[in-house]
């Protein structure tokens, strides 16, 4: 494996397949960045006056935040609920969350018209009646919290024990703050669409939208921890110490079980949502078939498969299921913000992403992968630093 080889050679060739592909994507991204900030949104995106939000919101913001929920779920499981055996999973989850949120904010710089004004809602004039204000404020604070939570890792790497030891004492407070902030902005992302009941298809519109988003963020985060774990085991196995490896199967089984339960609850909530507004008859339409495809194929099925996997201790099945569950979250967020949004407009007025938009989204994910690899191959994420055993 290339990472193995380069690690052993202490550097090795720069032109590994991973580096070459990433390099090409980063170059394309740089080109699109120039285009975006010289020609405006119109030069890169397929957005128009009817469809002001595209995949930079659907994927980079909504999916990015939901899939970064592993940070608060894992640290809450370990520190608040006292499940000490999840300890080995906390650092990779915090790193994934921190990078996830950092990339959300990074991607927003492409999407909003005047990115240098992004601090305005917090520091200049506060639109407190706006759900987006709540989202912005929470994401801003939570990104800071994640940064402080991750900082000890970098400090151990750099060898600054004093600051590191002070920060570690904040763990409990930061974890609870993280859960509070996550509850608020995960749900608020769903609440964003409450203001447009006439634009979002009735099967997806519900006054429960904030609850749906929050509950689904929990199993999104857990599924992402399982998925990210299986990727890391494949490519970064040599960076993991025995402590991390011993705990990892336990984490996979535990999260599969928890995700299965939460998905079951989510399915019940979805049914309540339909029943409350009596929207069953829409299930017989084309949109109904698509709704059932999402809910049965990407929530009910992974819910069942997780349960079977947890019962049989079938790690392989659970790992495959996590891909299905992650795709389900992506599908759900796309449906709410794009597919079922503006459903009454004639098809000529509907949105489909441009190559430029897809390019920027791929670029953003690649930046995340490169940063993840850079950090995990250097800093004590998958292993314990010899100077700080047993209590990170």
């Amino acid at each position: 494996m290339t990472t193995h080889a380069s690690a052993k050679n202490g550097g090795g060739s720069l032109f590994t397949p991973f580096n070459v592909i990433c390099g090409i994507i980063l170059l394309i991204g740089a080109g699109l960045t120039v285009l975006r900030f010289t020609g405006g949104l119109g030069a890169v995106t397929a957005l128009d006056d009817n469809n002001p939000w595209g995949i930079w919101i659907a994927f980079d913001l909504l999916c990015g935040v939901a899939l970064a929920a592993g940070g608060y779920t894992t640290s809450a499981a370990c520190y608040v609920f006292g499940l000490k055996r999840y300890h080995g999973a906390v650092r990779p989850a915090i790193l994934t969350a921190f990078l996830g949120y950092a990339l959300v904010v990074f991607a927003l710089h492409y999407d909003v018209g005047r990115p240098w004004r992004l601090p305005y809602p917090v520091f200049v004039q506060q639109g407190t009646t706006s759900i987006l204000f709540e989202v912005g404020l929470c994401v801003f604070i939570y990104l800071t919290v994640l940064f402080v939570e991750f900082l000890p890792v970098a400090l151990e790497w750099k060898g600054w024990p004093k600051t590191r030891n002070v920060l570690v004492k904040l763990t409990m407070a930061l974890t609870i703050l993280g859960v509070v902030l996550s509850t608020m902005h995960q749900s608020s992302l769903g609440a964003l669409f409450l203001i447009a009941p006439t634009k979002l298809h009735p099967l997806w519109y519900s006054s429960y939208l904030p609850v749906f988003f929050f509950v689904s963020s929990m199993f999104a985060g857990m599924s992402m921890v399982i998925f990210e774990g299986s990727m890391s085991h494949r490519w970064l196995h040599h960076k993991m110490d025995s402590g991390h490896l011993d705990a990892s199967d336990h984490v996979v089984l535990g999260f599969a079980k928890a995700a299965s339960y939460i998905m079951f609850g989510y399915l019940s909530l979805k049914a309540f949502g339909l029943a409350m507004d009596n929207r069953w008859h829409y299930l017989l339409t084309g949109y109904g078939a698509w709704f059932l495809f999402e809910v049965l194929g990407f929530v009910a099925l992974p819910c069942y498969l997780y349960a079977v996997g947890a019962r049989d201790k079938n790690i392989g099945l659970i790992r495959k299921t996590s891909i299905l569950a992650v795709l389900g979250i992506v599908l759900n967020r796309f449906n709410i913000s794009l597919v079922a949004f503006n459903w009454q407009l004639p098809s000529a007025d509907r949105y489909f992403p441009s190559l430029g938009e897809i390019g920027v989204s791929v670029f953003v994910v690649t930046v995340g992968l490169v940063a993840f690899k850079f950090i995990t191959t250097r800093m004590p994420v998958f292993f314990e630093h010899p100077d700080y055993p047993d209590h990170h």
Partner: protein
């Protein structure tokens, strides 16, 4: 500070769990349709689709001239919407059963409680006493949530502006209103299809027309209550649906759909730390009790083991003592016997 800011701050500060219902009561009490604010009535039965209003709007707002001239009525054949450089459009509709086509003018309706203002996270939109919903580009971040929120699909964006894109929409010609002039489109209308006045007065005029000509008009003023009421209202002789106007908007202002979610914020901020702290305390206590029980079991075991050992030792000791005593007794007996024997043998000699 306006009402929205105040309520928003209340919510943010987490003053009460009932913020949602409070904001509801307040909106009913202090809006009452802003009777003195400016309003416009559009009468679809009078509009002839001449596009004079479009032209006036273009001139007054100094917008770029479109390719097709304003007297080119072929433009009306395809339905249009507002854009960054087009604040108002007139569309042509052919309602089922109607002999002649019917025209409708589209522009910002200047809601009494605007969705855009409720959605804006920097308060760039404001409902003014003139009736206008104004937009402040110097605050706008360009998130375009106002465009998502507006159920009339009015705000447009300067997508091709690289560094200073703005949201664009009808301004109600607010600067002209302040000078005592009419909005550009109202002034230009040759058929008096547009009437400007105080909102209360405009509603009275609309009612009067409907009452005087019950066969000509539908008995509904579109915008009197839609989305909590708008400053621009429409009366028509054909169903509003036929003019591309949504009849499913309801009478609640847009902000009421999100106030519930916002009022949940204090609950989360107040309750989560308590609950999570409780769970943490319980799990920690469980750990401590488990640890104590373990400790106790260990001490007990050690105590039991040492007690056993002591008992055994003392038993052994007593045993040894008894054995020793017996041995001494035997030895003494032996010695006595030996002494007695030597005595008797001595006597015998």
């Amino acid at each position: 500070m306006n009402r929205r800011t105040f309520l928003g701050l209340m919510g943010a500060a987490g003053v009460t769990l009932g913020t949602g219902s409070v904001s509801h009561a307040a909106s009913a009490a202090d809006v009452k349709g802003l009777p003195d604010s400016g309003a416009v009535l559009f009468d679809a039965t009078r509009c002839i689709g001449c596009r004079k209003c479009e032209e006036a709007c273009n001139t007054v707002n100094e917008l770029p001239k479109p390719q097709a001239k304003f007297d080119d009525l072929k433009v009306l054949e395809t339905p249009r919407r507002t854009h960054a450089d087009v604040f108002t459009v007139v569309n042509k509709y052919q309602p089922a059963g109607a002999k002649a086509p019917v025209f409708r003018k589209i522009q910002c309706n200047h809601c009494l409680e605007p969705a855009c203002a409720s959605a804006c996270f920097v308060q760039a939109f404001k409902k003014n006493e003139t009736g206008a919903v104004s937009y402040d580009a110097s605050l706008c971040v360009g998130c375009r949530y106002c465009m998502i929120a507006c159920s009339f699909g009015i705000p447009a964006y300067e997508y091709n502006e690289a560094l200073t894109p703005r949201v664009r929409k009808c301004t109600f010609c607010e600067p002209r209103l302040k000078e005592g002039k009419l909005p550009g489109c109202v002034e230009a209308c040759p058929k008096e299809a547009l009437v400007f006045g105080k909102r209360s007065e405009i509603i009275r005029i609309a009612r009067q027309r409907i009452m005087d000509n019950p066969d000509k008009y539908l008995d509904h003023i579109y915008g009197e209550h839609e989305m909590g009421g708008t400053a621009w209202m429409t009366i028509s002789g054909v169903p509003f649906k036929e003019l591309g106007m949504r009849e499913d908007l309801g009478v609640e202002p847009a902000g009421s759909y999100t106030s519930g979610a916002l009022s949940a914020v204090p609950v989360v901020v107040g309750m989560w730390p308590v609950l999570l702290g409780g769970i943490y305390a319980v799990s920690k206590r469980k750990d401590r009790i488990a640890e104590e029980e373990k400790q106790k079991a260990v001490t007990d075991a050690i105590a039991r083991a040492s007690a056993d050992a002591e008992a055994k030792l003392s038993e052994e000791l007593t045993k040894a003592e008894v054995a020793n005593k017996r041995r001494i007794e035997v030895e003494v007996k032996k010695a006595l016997e030996a002494a007695a024997q030597s005595q008797t043998s001595g006597e015998e000699e």
